[in-house]
């Protein structure tokens, strides 16, 4: 089997400061990988390098493209990378305002990617948009409302619908539940878990919330100071942490 994403020796420096270094892992189709760590540990840097939002200084990011097999995304041309970013890839931002077009209706937001890859039939676009709003539990009657009329949880669900509408094979998520209250978080996680299982999505989820990775991730990477300190199956890492930092992280979770 070909891995979906293969990362080798990825590193990024901000001037003299280390963003992340020596990151290598392989993501297989249908697998969800969690990346946890404290603020400033390089999680988001890593995710942005993977998703092509910024160029890493060292290493390679190989993606299994549909027609040409494993290719280094960093050596792709910008049009190819952008095409990938709106077809096979999806990026869910922590703040839905970063991922949504706030002055465009919910239907337009979902249809955006469809139109970007060439859909030119209004009726079809609208049908798909209302179908996807239904899947993320947004009333189809609100299709023409702007995202700012939606609650934070709804905005986040709209962002997910907007990203998944083109049937991506790999989803990058940056703290998808950050900034939401716990009951909304639970609902969103439930929805995400359903979508991930239903579509067999592969995903890389960056979070500092261990509950999120426990529910969603098959495998887990723990990062500290730009390096991976521990890696393994989610339950294994969370239930039997080996590294001192992971032990600290796991024991820091408040029990209610």
């Amino acid at each position: 089997m070909t891995p979906l994403l293969k990362v080798e020796g990825l590193g990024k420096f901000y001037g003299r400061h280390l963003g992340c270094a020596d990151i290598s892992f392989t993501l297989w189709p249908g697998e969800v990988m969690g990346i946890v760590g404290e603020s400033g540990s390089g999680k988001s840097t890593l995710l942005n390098c993977l998703a092509g939002h910024m160029p890493p200084d060292t290493g390679r990011v190989m993606f299994d493209t549909r027609d040409q097999g494993l290719r280094d995304t960093l050596e792709m041309s910008e049009p190819e990378r952008r095409w990938l970013a709106r077809t096979d890839w999806a990026f869910v931002h922590q703040n839905p305002r970063d991922g949504l077009r706030m002055n465009v209706s919910a239907g337009g937001n979902v249809g955006d990617r469809l139109m970007a890859v060439g859909a030119r039939h209004y009726g079809d676009i609208r049908r798909q948009a209302s179908d996807w709003l239904g899947r993320v539990e947004i009333d189809a009657g609100r299709i023409d409302e702007r995202p700012r009329a939606f609650s934070g949880g709804m905005q986040q669900r709209l962002q997910i619908a907007r990203n998944l509408v083109t049937g991506p094979r790999l989803v990058f998520m940056d703290e998808p539940t950050g900034g939401l209250d716990v009951s909304v978080q639970a609902r969103l996680l439930d929805l995400l878990r359903g979508l991930v299982r239903h579509f067999g999505l592969s995903a890389v989820i960056v979070t500092h919330d261990l509950a999120v990775v426990r529910l969603l991730a098959d495998r887990l990477m723990v990062m500290k100071d730009g390096h991976v300190v521990e890696e393994g199956l989610t339950d294994q890492v969370l239930d039997d942490p080996q590294d001192a930092y992971t032990q600290l992280l796991v024991s820091s979770v408040l029990q209610v």
């Binding site: 910008e78 049009p79 952008r82 709106r86 077009r101 465009v104 209706s105 239907g107 337009g108 249809g111 955006d112 990617r113 139109m115 970007a116 890859v117 030119r120 039939h121 209004y122 009726g123 676009i125 609208r126 299709i143 023409d144």
Partner: protein, 282 residues
Amino acid sequence: MTDYNFAYLDEATKRMLRRAILKAVAIPGYQVPFSSREMPMPYGWGTGGVQVTAACLVPEDTLKVIDQGADDTTNAVSIRNFFARVARVTTTEATAEASVIQTRHRIPERPLTDGQILVFQVPIPEPLRFLEPRETETRTMHALEDYGLMQVRLYEDIARHGEIARAYAYPVRVEGRYIMDPSPIPKFDNPKLDRSPALHLFGAGREGRIYALPPHTRVESLDFEDYPFTASKAAGQRCAICGAEDSYLDEVITDDAGGRMFVCSDTDYCATRVAAQAEDAA
């Protein structure tokens, strides 16, 4: 009249403008930057068009200037007088006689012919401007043909108004490549751009951009398969002066009691028709 160089601008400036125009003609629909000069008129009055016209004019040219289709409005009259003074070219109001036509907001009704140059005054050359504020990003979008956003705007129009509500400056795609703002002409005029035998030049003075449609260029107005582009005008009306049904009409309010009339916005077209009718009657 020896105070000014021919056509007001100095030769080096005209050379710079011509280089930009040549590049624009070579890449239809692409916005070529040029270093716009101060002109003896305010921005928004057609400084871009005037510079392009100045660079195109030769002493043998016959110049026509229209504003909203009319030859007799302030803007048209003053630009025509300007070139009559500084270039001493012949001026005309007849579309058929003109070799260079500077226009604001309209394309003449009478079909343009081989060898004519139509110069547009453009306020905002970037069709993606109100969708994406960053100039660096809009240039990248043009370079990568990343035009989904424009379609999103048309989608929004249909979702909100039931049709594509854009009535002027309706975006077009040039030769299947660049998306271009045809300047604020009514969308009624968009089909006239398609495969026109004339050369169309667009000058934006404030933003310093020139773009062009060489003769016989394919120009398609953007739309959806199930919401095709329509070149609309005042429905069911005819010109109150010449009776034309096929021309673009201006609505003129005649009193404060709801009185109104529709007249051709192209004054030359209207006058030509009236003269022909008088001749027939005689």
